[in-house]
Amino acid sequence: MTQAAAVENKKTKKRRFTFKRHYFAFPYFFLSGLFIVIPLIILFVYAFRGADGGFTFSNFASFFTTPHVLRAMGNSLLIGFATTALCLALAYPVALILANSRFNKTMILVLMFVLPMYINSLLRTLAIKSLFDIMGIENNFWRITIAHVYDFFPFMLLPIYTVLVNMDKSYLEASNDLGGNTLKTWARVTLPLSVPGIVSGILMVFMPTVSMFAVRDIVINREEWPMFGNIIDGMFRTESMYGLGSAYAMILLVMVMVTMVVAGRVNAKRQREVQGK
């Protein structure tokens, strides 16, 4: 095709419909709108719907006035905090060691930590339950918490490891040259630089634990320590309770959004500090 012909061609094409690359995003917007945004809007509407079908705030009010619901939320938060703290306390040192080329030169160990993520989490929960039974761990709180730690450990480890292994090692050398010992280097250089990893690790452990209920149902036999997820699950068994259940789900959604915003703030602040200095 000569240049002139190409120009000619372009001119005639202008009138017809021409396919553009970004049109490929249209099905995406359609699908996401229909199956992700609209369901969330329906959830929002139902949260303000009473048992009689009218508009009401009572679904949200009942969250604050029903003792067993509040207790379940308390349980979930407590287990969420404990799980996150334990995961972090275990995963950070492991990540630090795995990312240090002096201790670990191969990928095999990292891979060993990642592999269990690919096994159905309920099967893994069943496995840790059998360990509890053998070891005679009877305390319900610890059974639930350890089971969650067992399930979520790789999700805390991986982001921290990724950040640490990609960290510019010349910072450490610089700190050493300037007279910082190992502890000081860690506190002043490594820790601040690993904050993004810690933040995304916490995000991947905390809210998923708070909203989880299957793990609790497997490791605990009796009706003790109900979690917030159990309450929502119970609400969606009878049609007249859908409004209440939606309101409780909205509360979880708000909590997710709050944690995301807080995490974003922490990361942005950290970034400004790193760049500012």
Partner: protein, 297 residues
């Protein structure tokens, strides 16, 4: 062992100190690793016993009974079949739709692109149970009551598609932007260029995305539980396990099934990783790592 031989008199040399540090560090890692693998090993060991073993820890003698019982349990095998079918189909749909979407999003204008990426994060960061009940209410409101394959495949496609997009997008960013123009210059239309030039280069990313979508679908419990039509509805492995693990015979058969799944996935993943390791050696990152949600949208 070397530590025992020499009793330090005055000061340890730097080399010795480093060796001690290394052994401490590695033993910590190995202890954590051991705790992770002990439950799995327990299940595997106690899958080779007989039905007299009421719970793990009671050894009833070596037998393959649990494996043959597992194969005869129709409900369990049905749930396994459902799990695989739903996972394969939804991962396939998610990979195709997700890849096309990722291409489209890649070429959007900056603002719209940012909006699309935020939209994509909704499923990734949202609590599973919220997504699950939202789907359930959606089907309820539009009057679609046949909870089963349709609802599950649809829901699983939608919850795995964002991860496909997150996997394919980075690869698109790495592509040489002039390739597309080269395709046009050489006389291929936009569509043909996309299918002949862009898509072939995305195939490795698409395979990885399929694997991630498949695992997420198999692993899903909450979305399945709310959209399978209840206890009498369609069961996948997760929901079957959840409803019947307390029945002693099912509990025993699940040991056998877990062992098969554990060993199978380990072998597959090890093969994949060691094959891909040579290529990824520089990156020092596990090849089979699911994408983590980014905190800054």
């Amino acid at each position: 062992m070397k530590l025992k031989q020499k009793k330090p008199r005055k000061k340890l040399t730097l080399n010795q100190r480093r060796k001690i540090q290394k052994s401490f560090a590695l033993s910590f890692v190995f202890i954590v690793l051991a705790v992770m693998y002990v439950p799995i090993l327990l299940i595997i060991v106690f899958s080779f016993t007989n039905t007299r073993s009421g719970r793990i820890g009671d050894w009833g003698g070596f037998s393959m009974q649990l494996y043959s019982n597992m194969l005869q349990n129709r409900e369990l095998m049905g749930a396994l079949g459902n799990t695989l079918m739903i996972a394969v189909l939804s991962a396939l749909f998610a990979t195709l739709l997700g890849t096309i979407s990722a291409v489209g999003i890649h070429f959007l204008k900056r603002r719209v692109k940012a909006a699309a990426k935020t939209l994509n994060q909704i499923i990734v960061v949202n609590a599973d149970i919220v997504t699950a009940v939202a789907f359930m209410l959606f089907f309820f409101v539009i009057g679609f009551r046949q909870f089963g394959y349709t609802t599950l495949i649809l829901a699983h496609t939608m919850i795995t598609m964002p991860f496909v997009i997150l996997t394919v997008s980075p690869r698109l960013n790495q592509l040489n932007p002039s390739l597309y123009d080269a395709g046009l210059d050489l006389g291929a239309g936009p569509m043909r260029t996309l299918f002949k030039v862009i898509l072939p280069q995305l195939i490795p990313a698409m395979i990885a995305a399929f694997a991630i979508a498949f695992t997420l679908s198999v692993d899903d419990f909450v979305v399945t539980k709310f959209n399978n039509g209840g206890a009498s509805g369609l069961h996948t492995l997760s929901t079957y396990l959840y409803t019947s693990f307390k029945r002693p015979n099912v509990g025993q058969q699940l040991r056998a099934l877990s062992s098969v799944i554990f060993i199978l996935s380990f072998v597959v993943l090890l093969i994949i990783n060691f094959r891909a390791k040579r290529k990824a050696k520089k990156a020092r990152l596990p090849v089979v790592a699911p994408p983590t949600p980014t905190t800054t949208a």
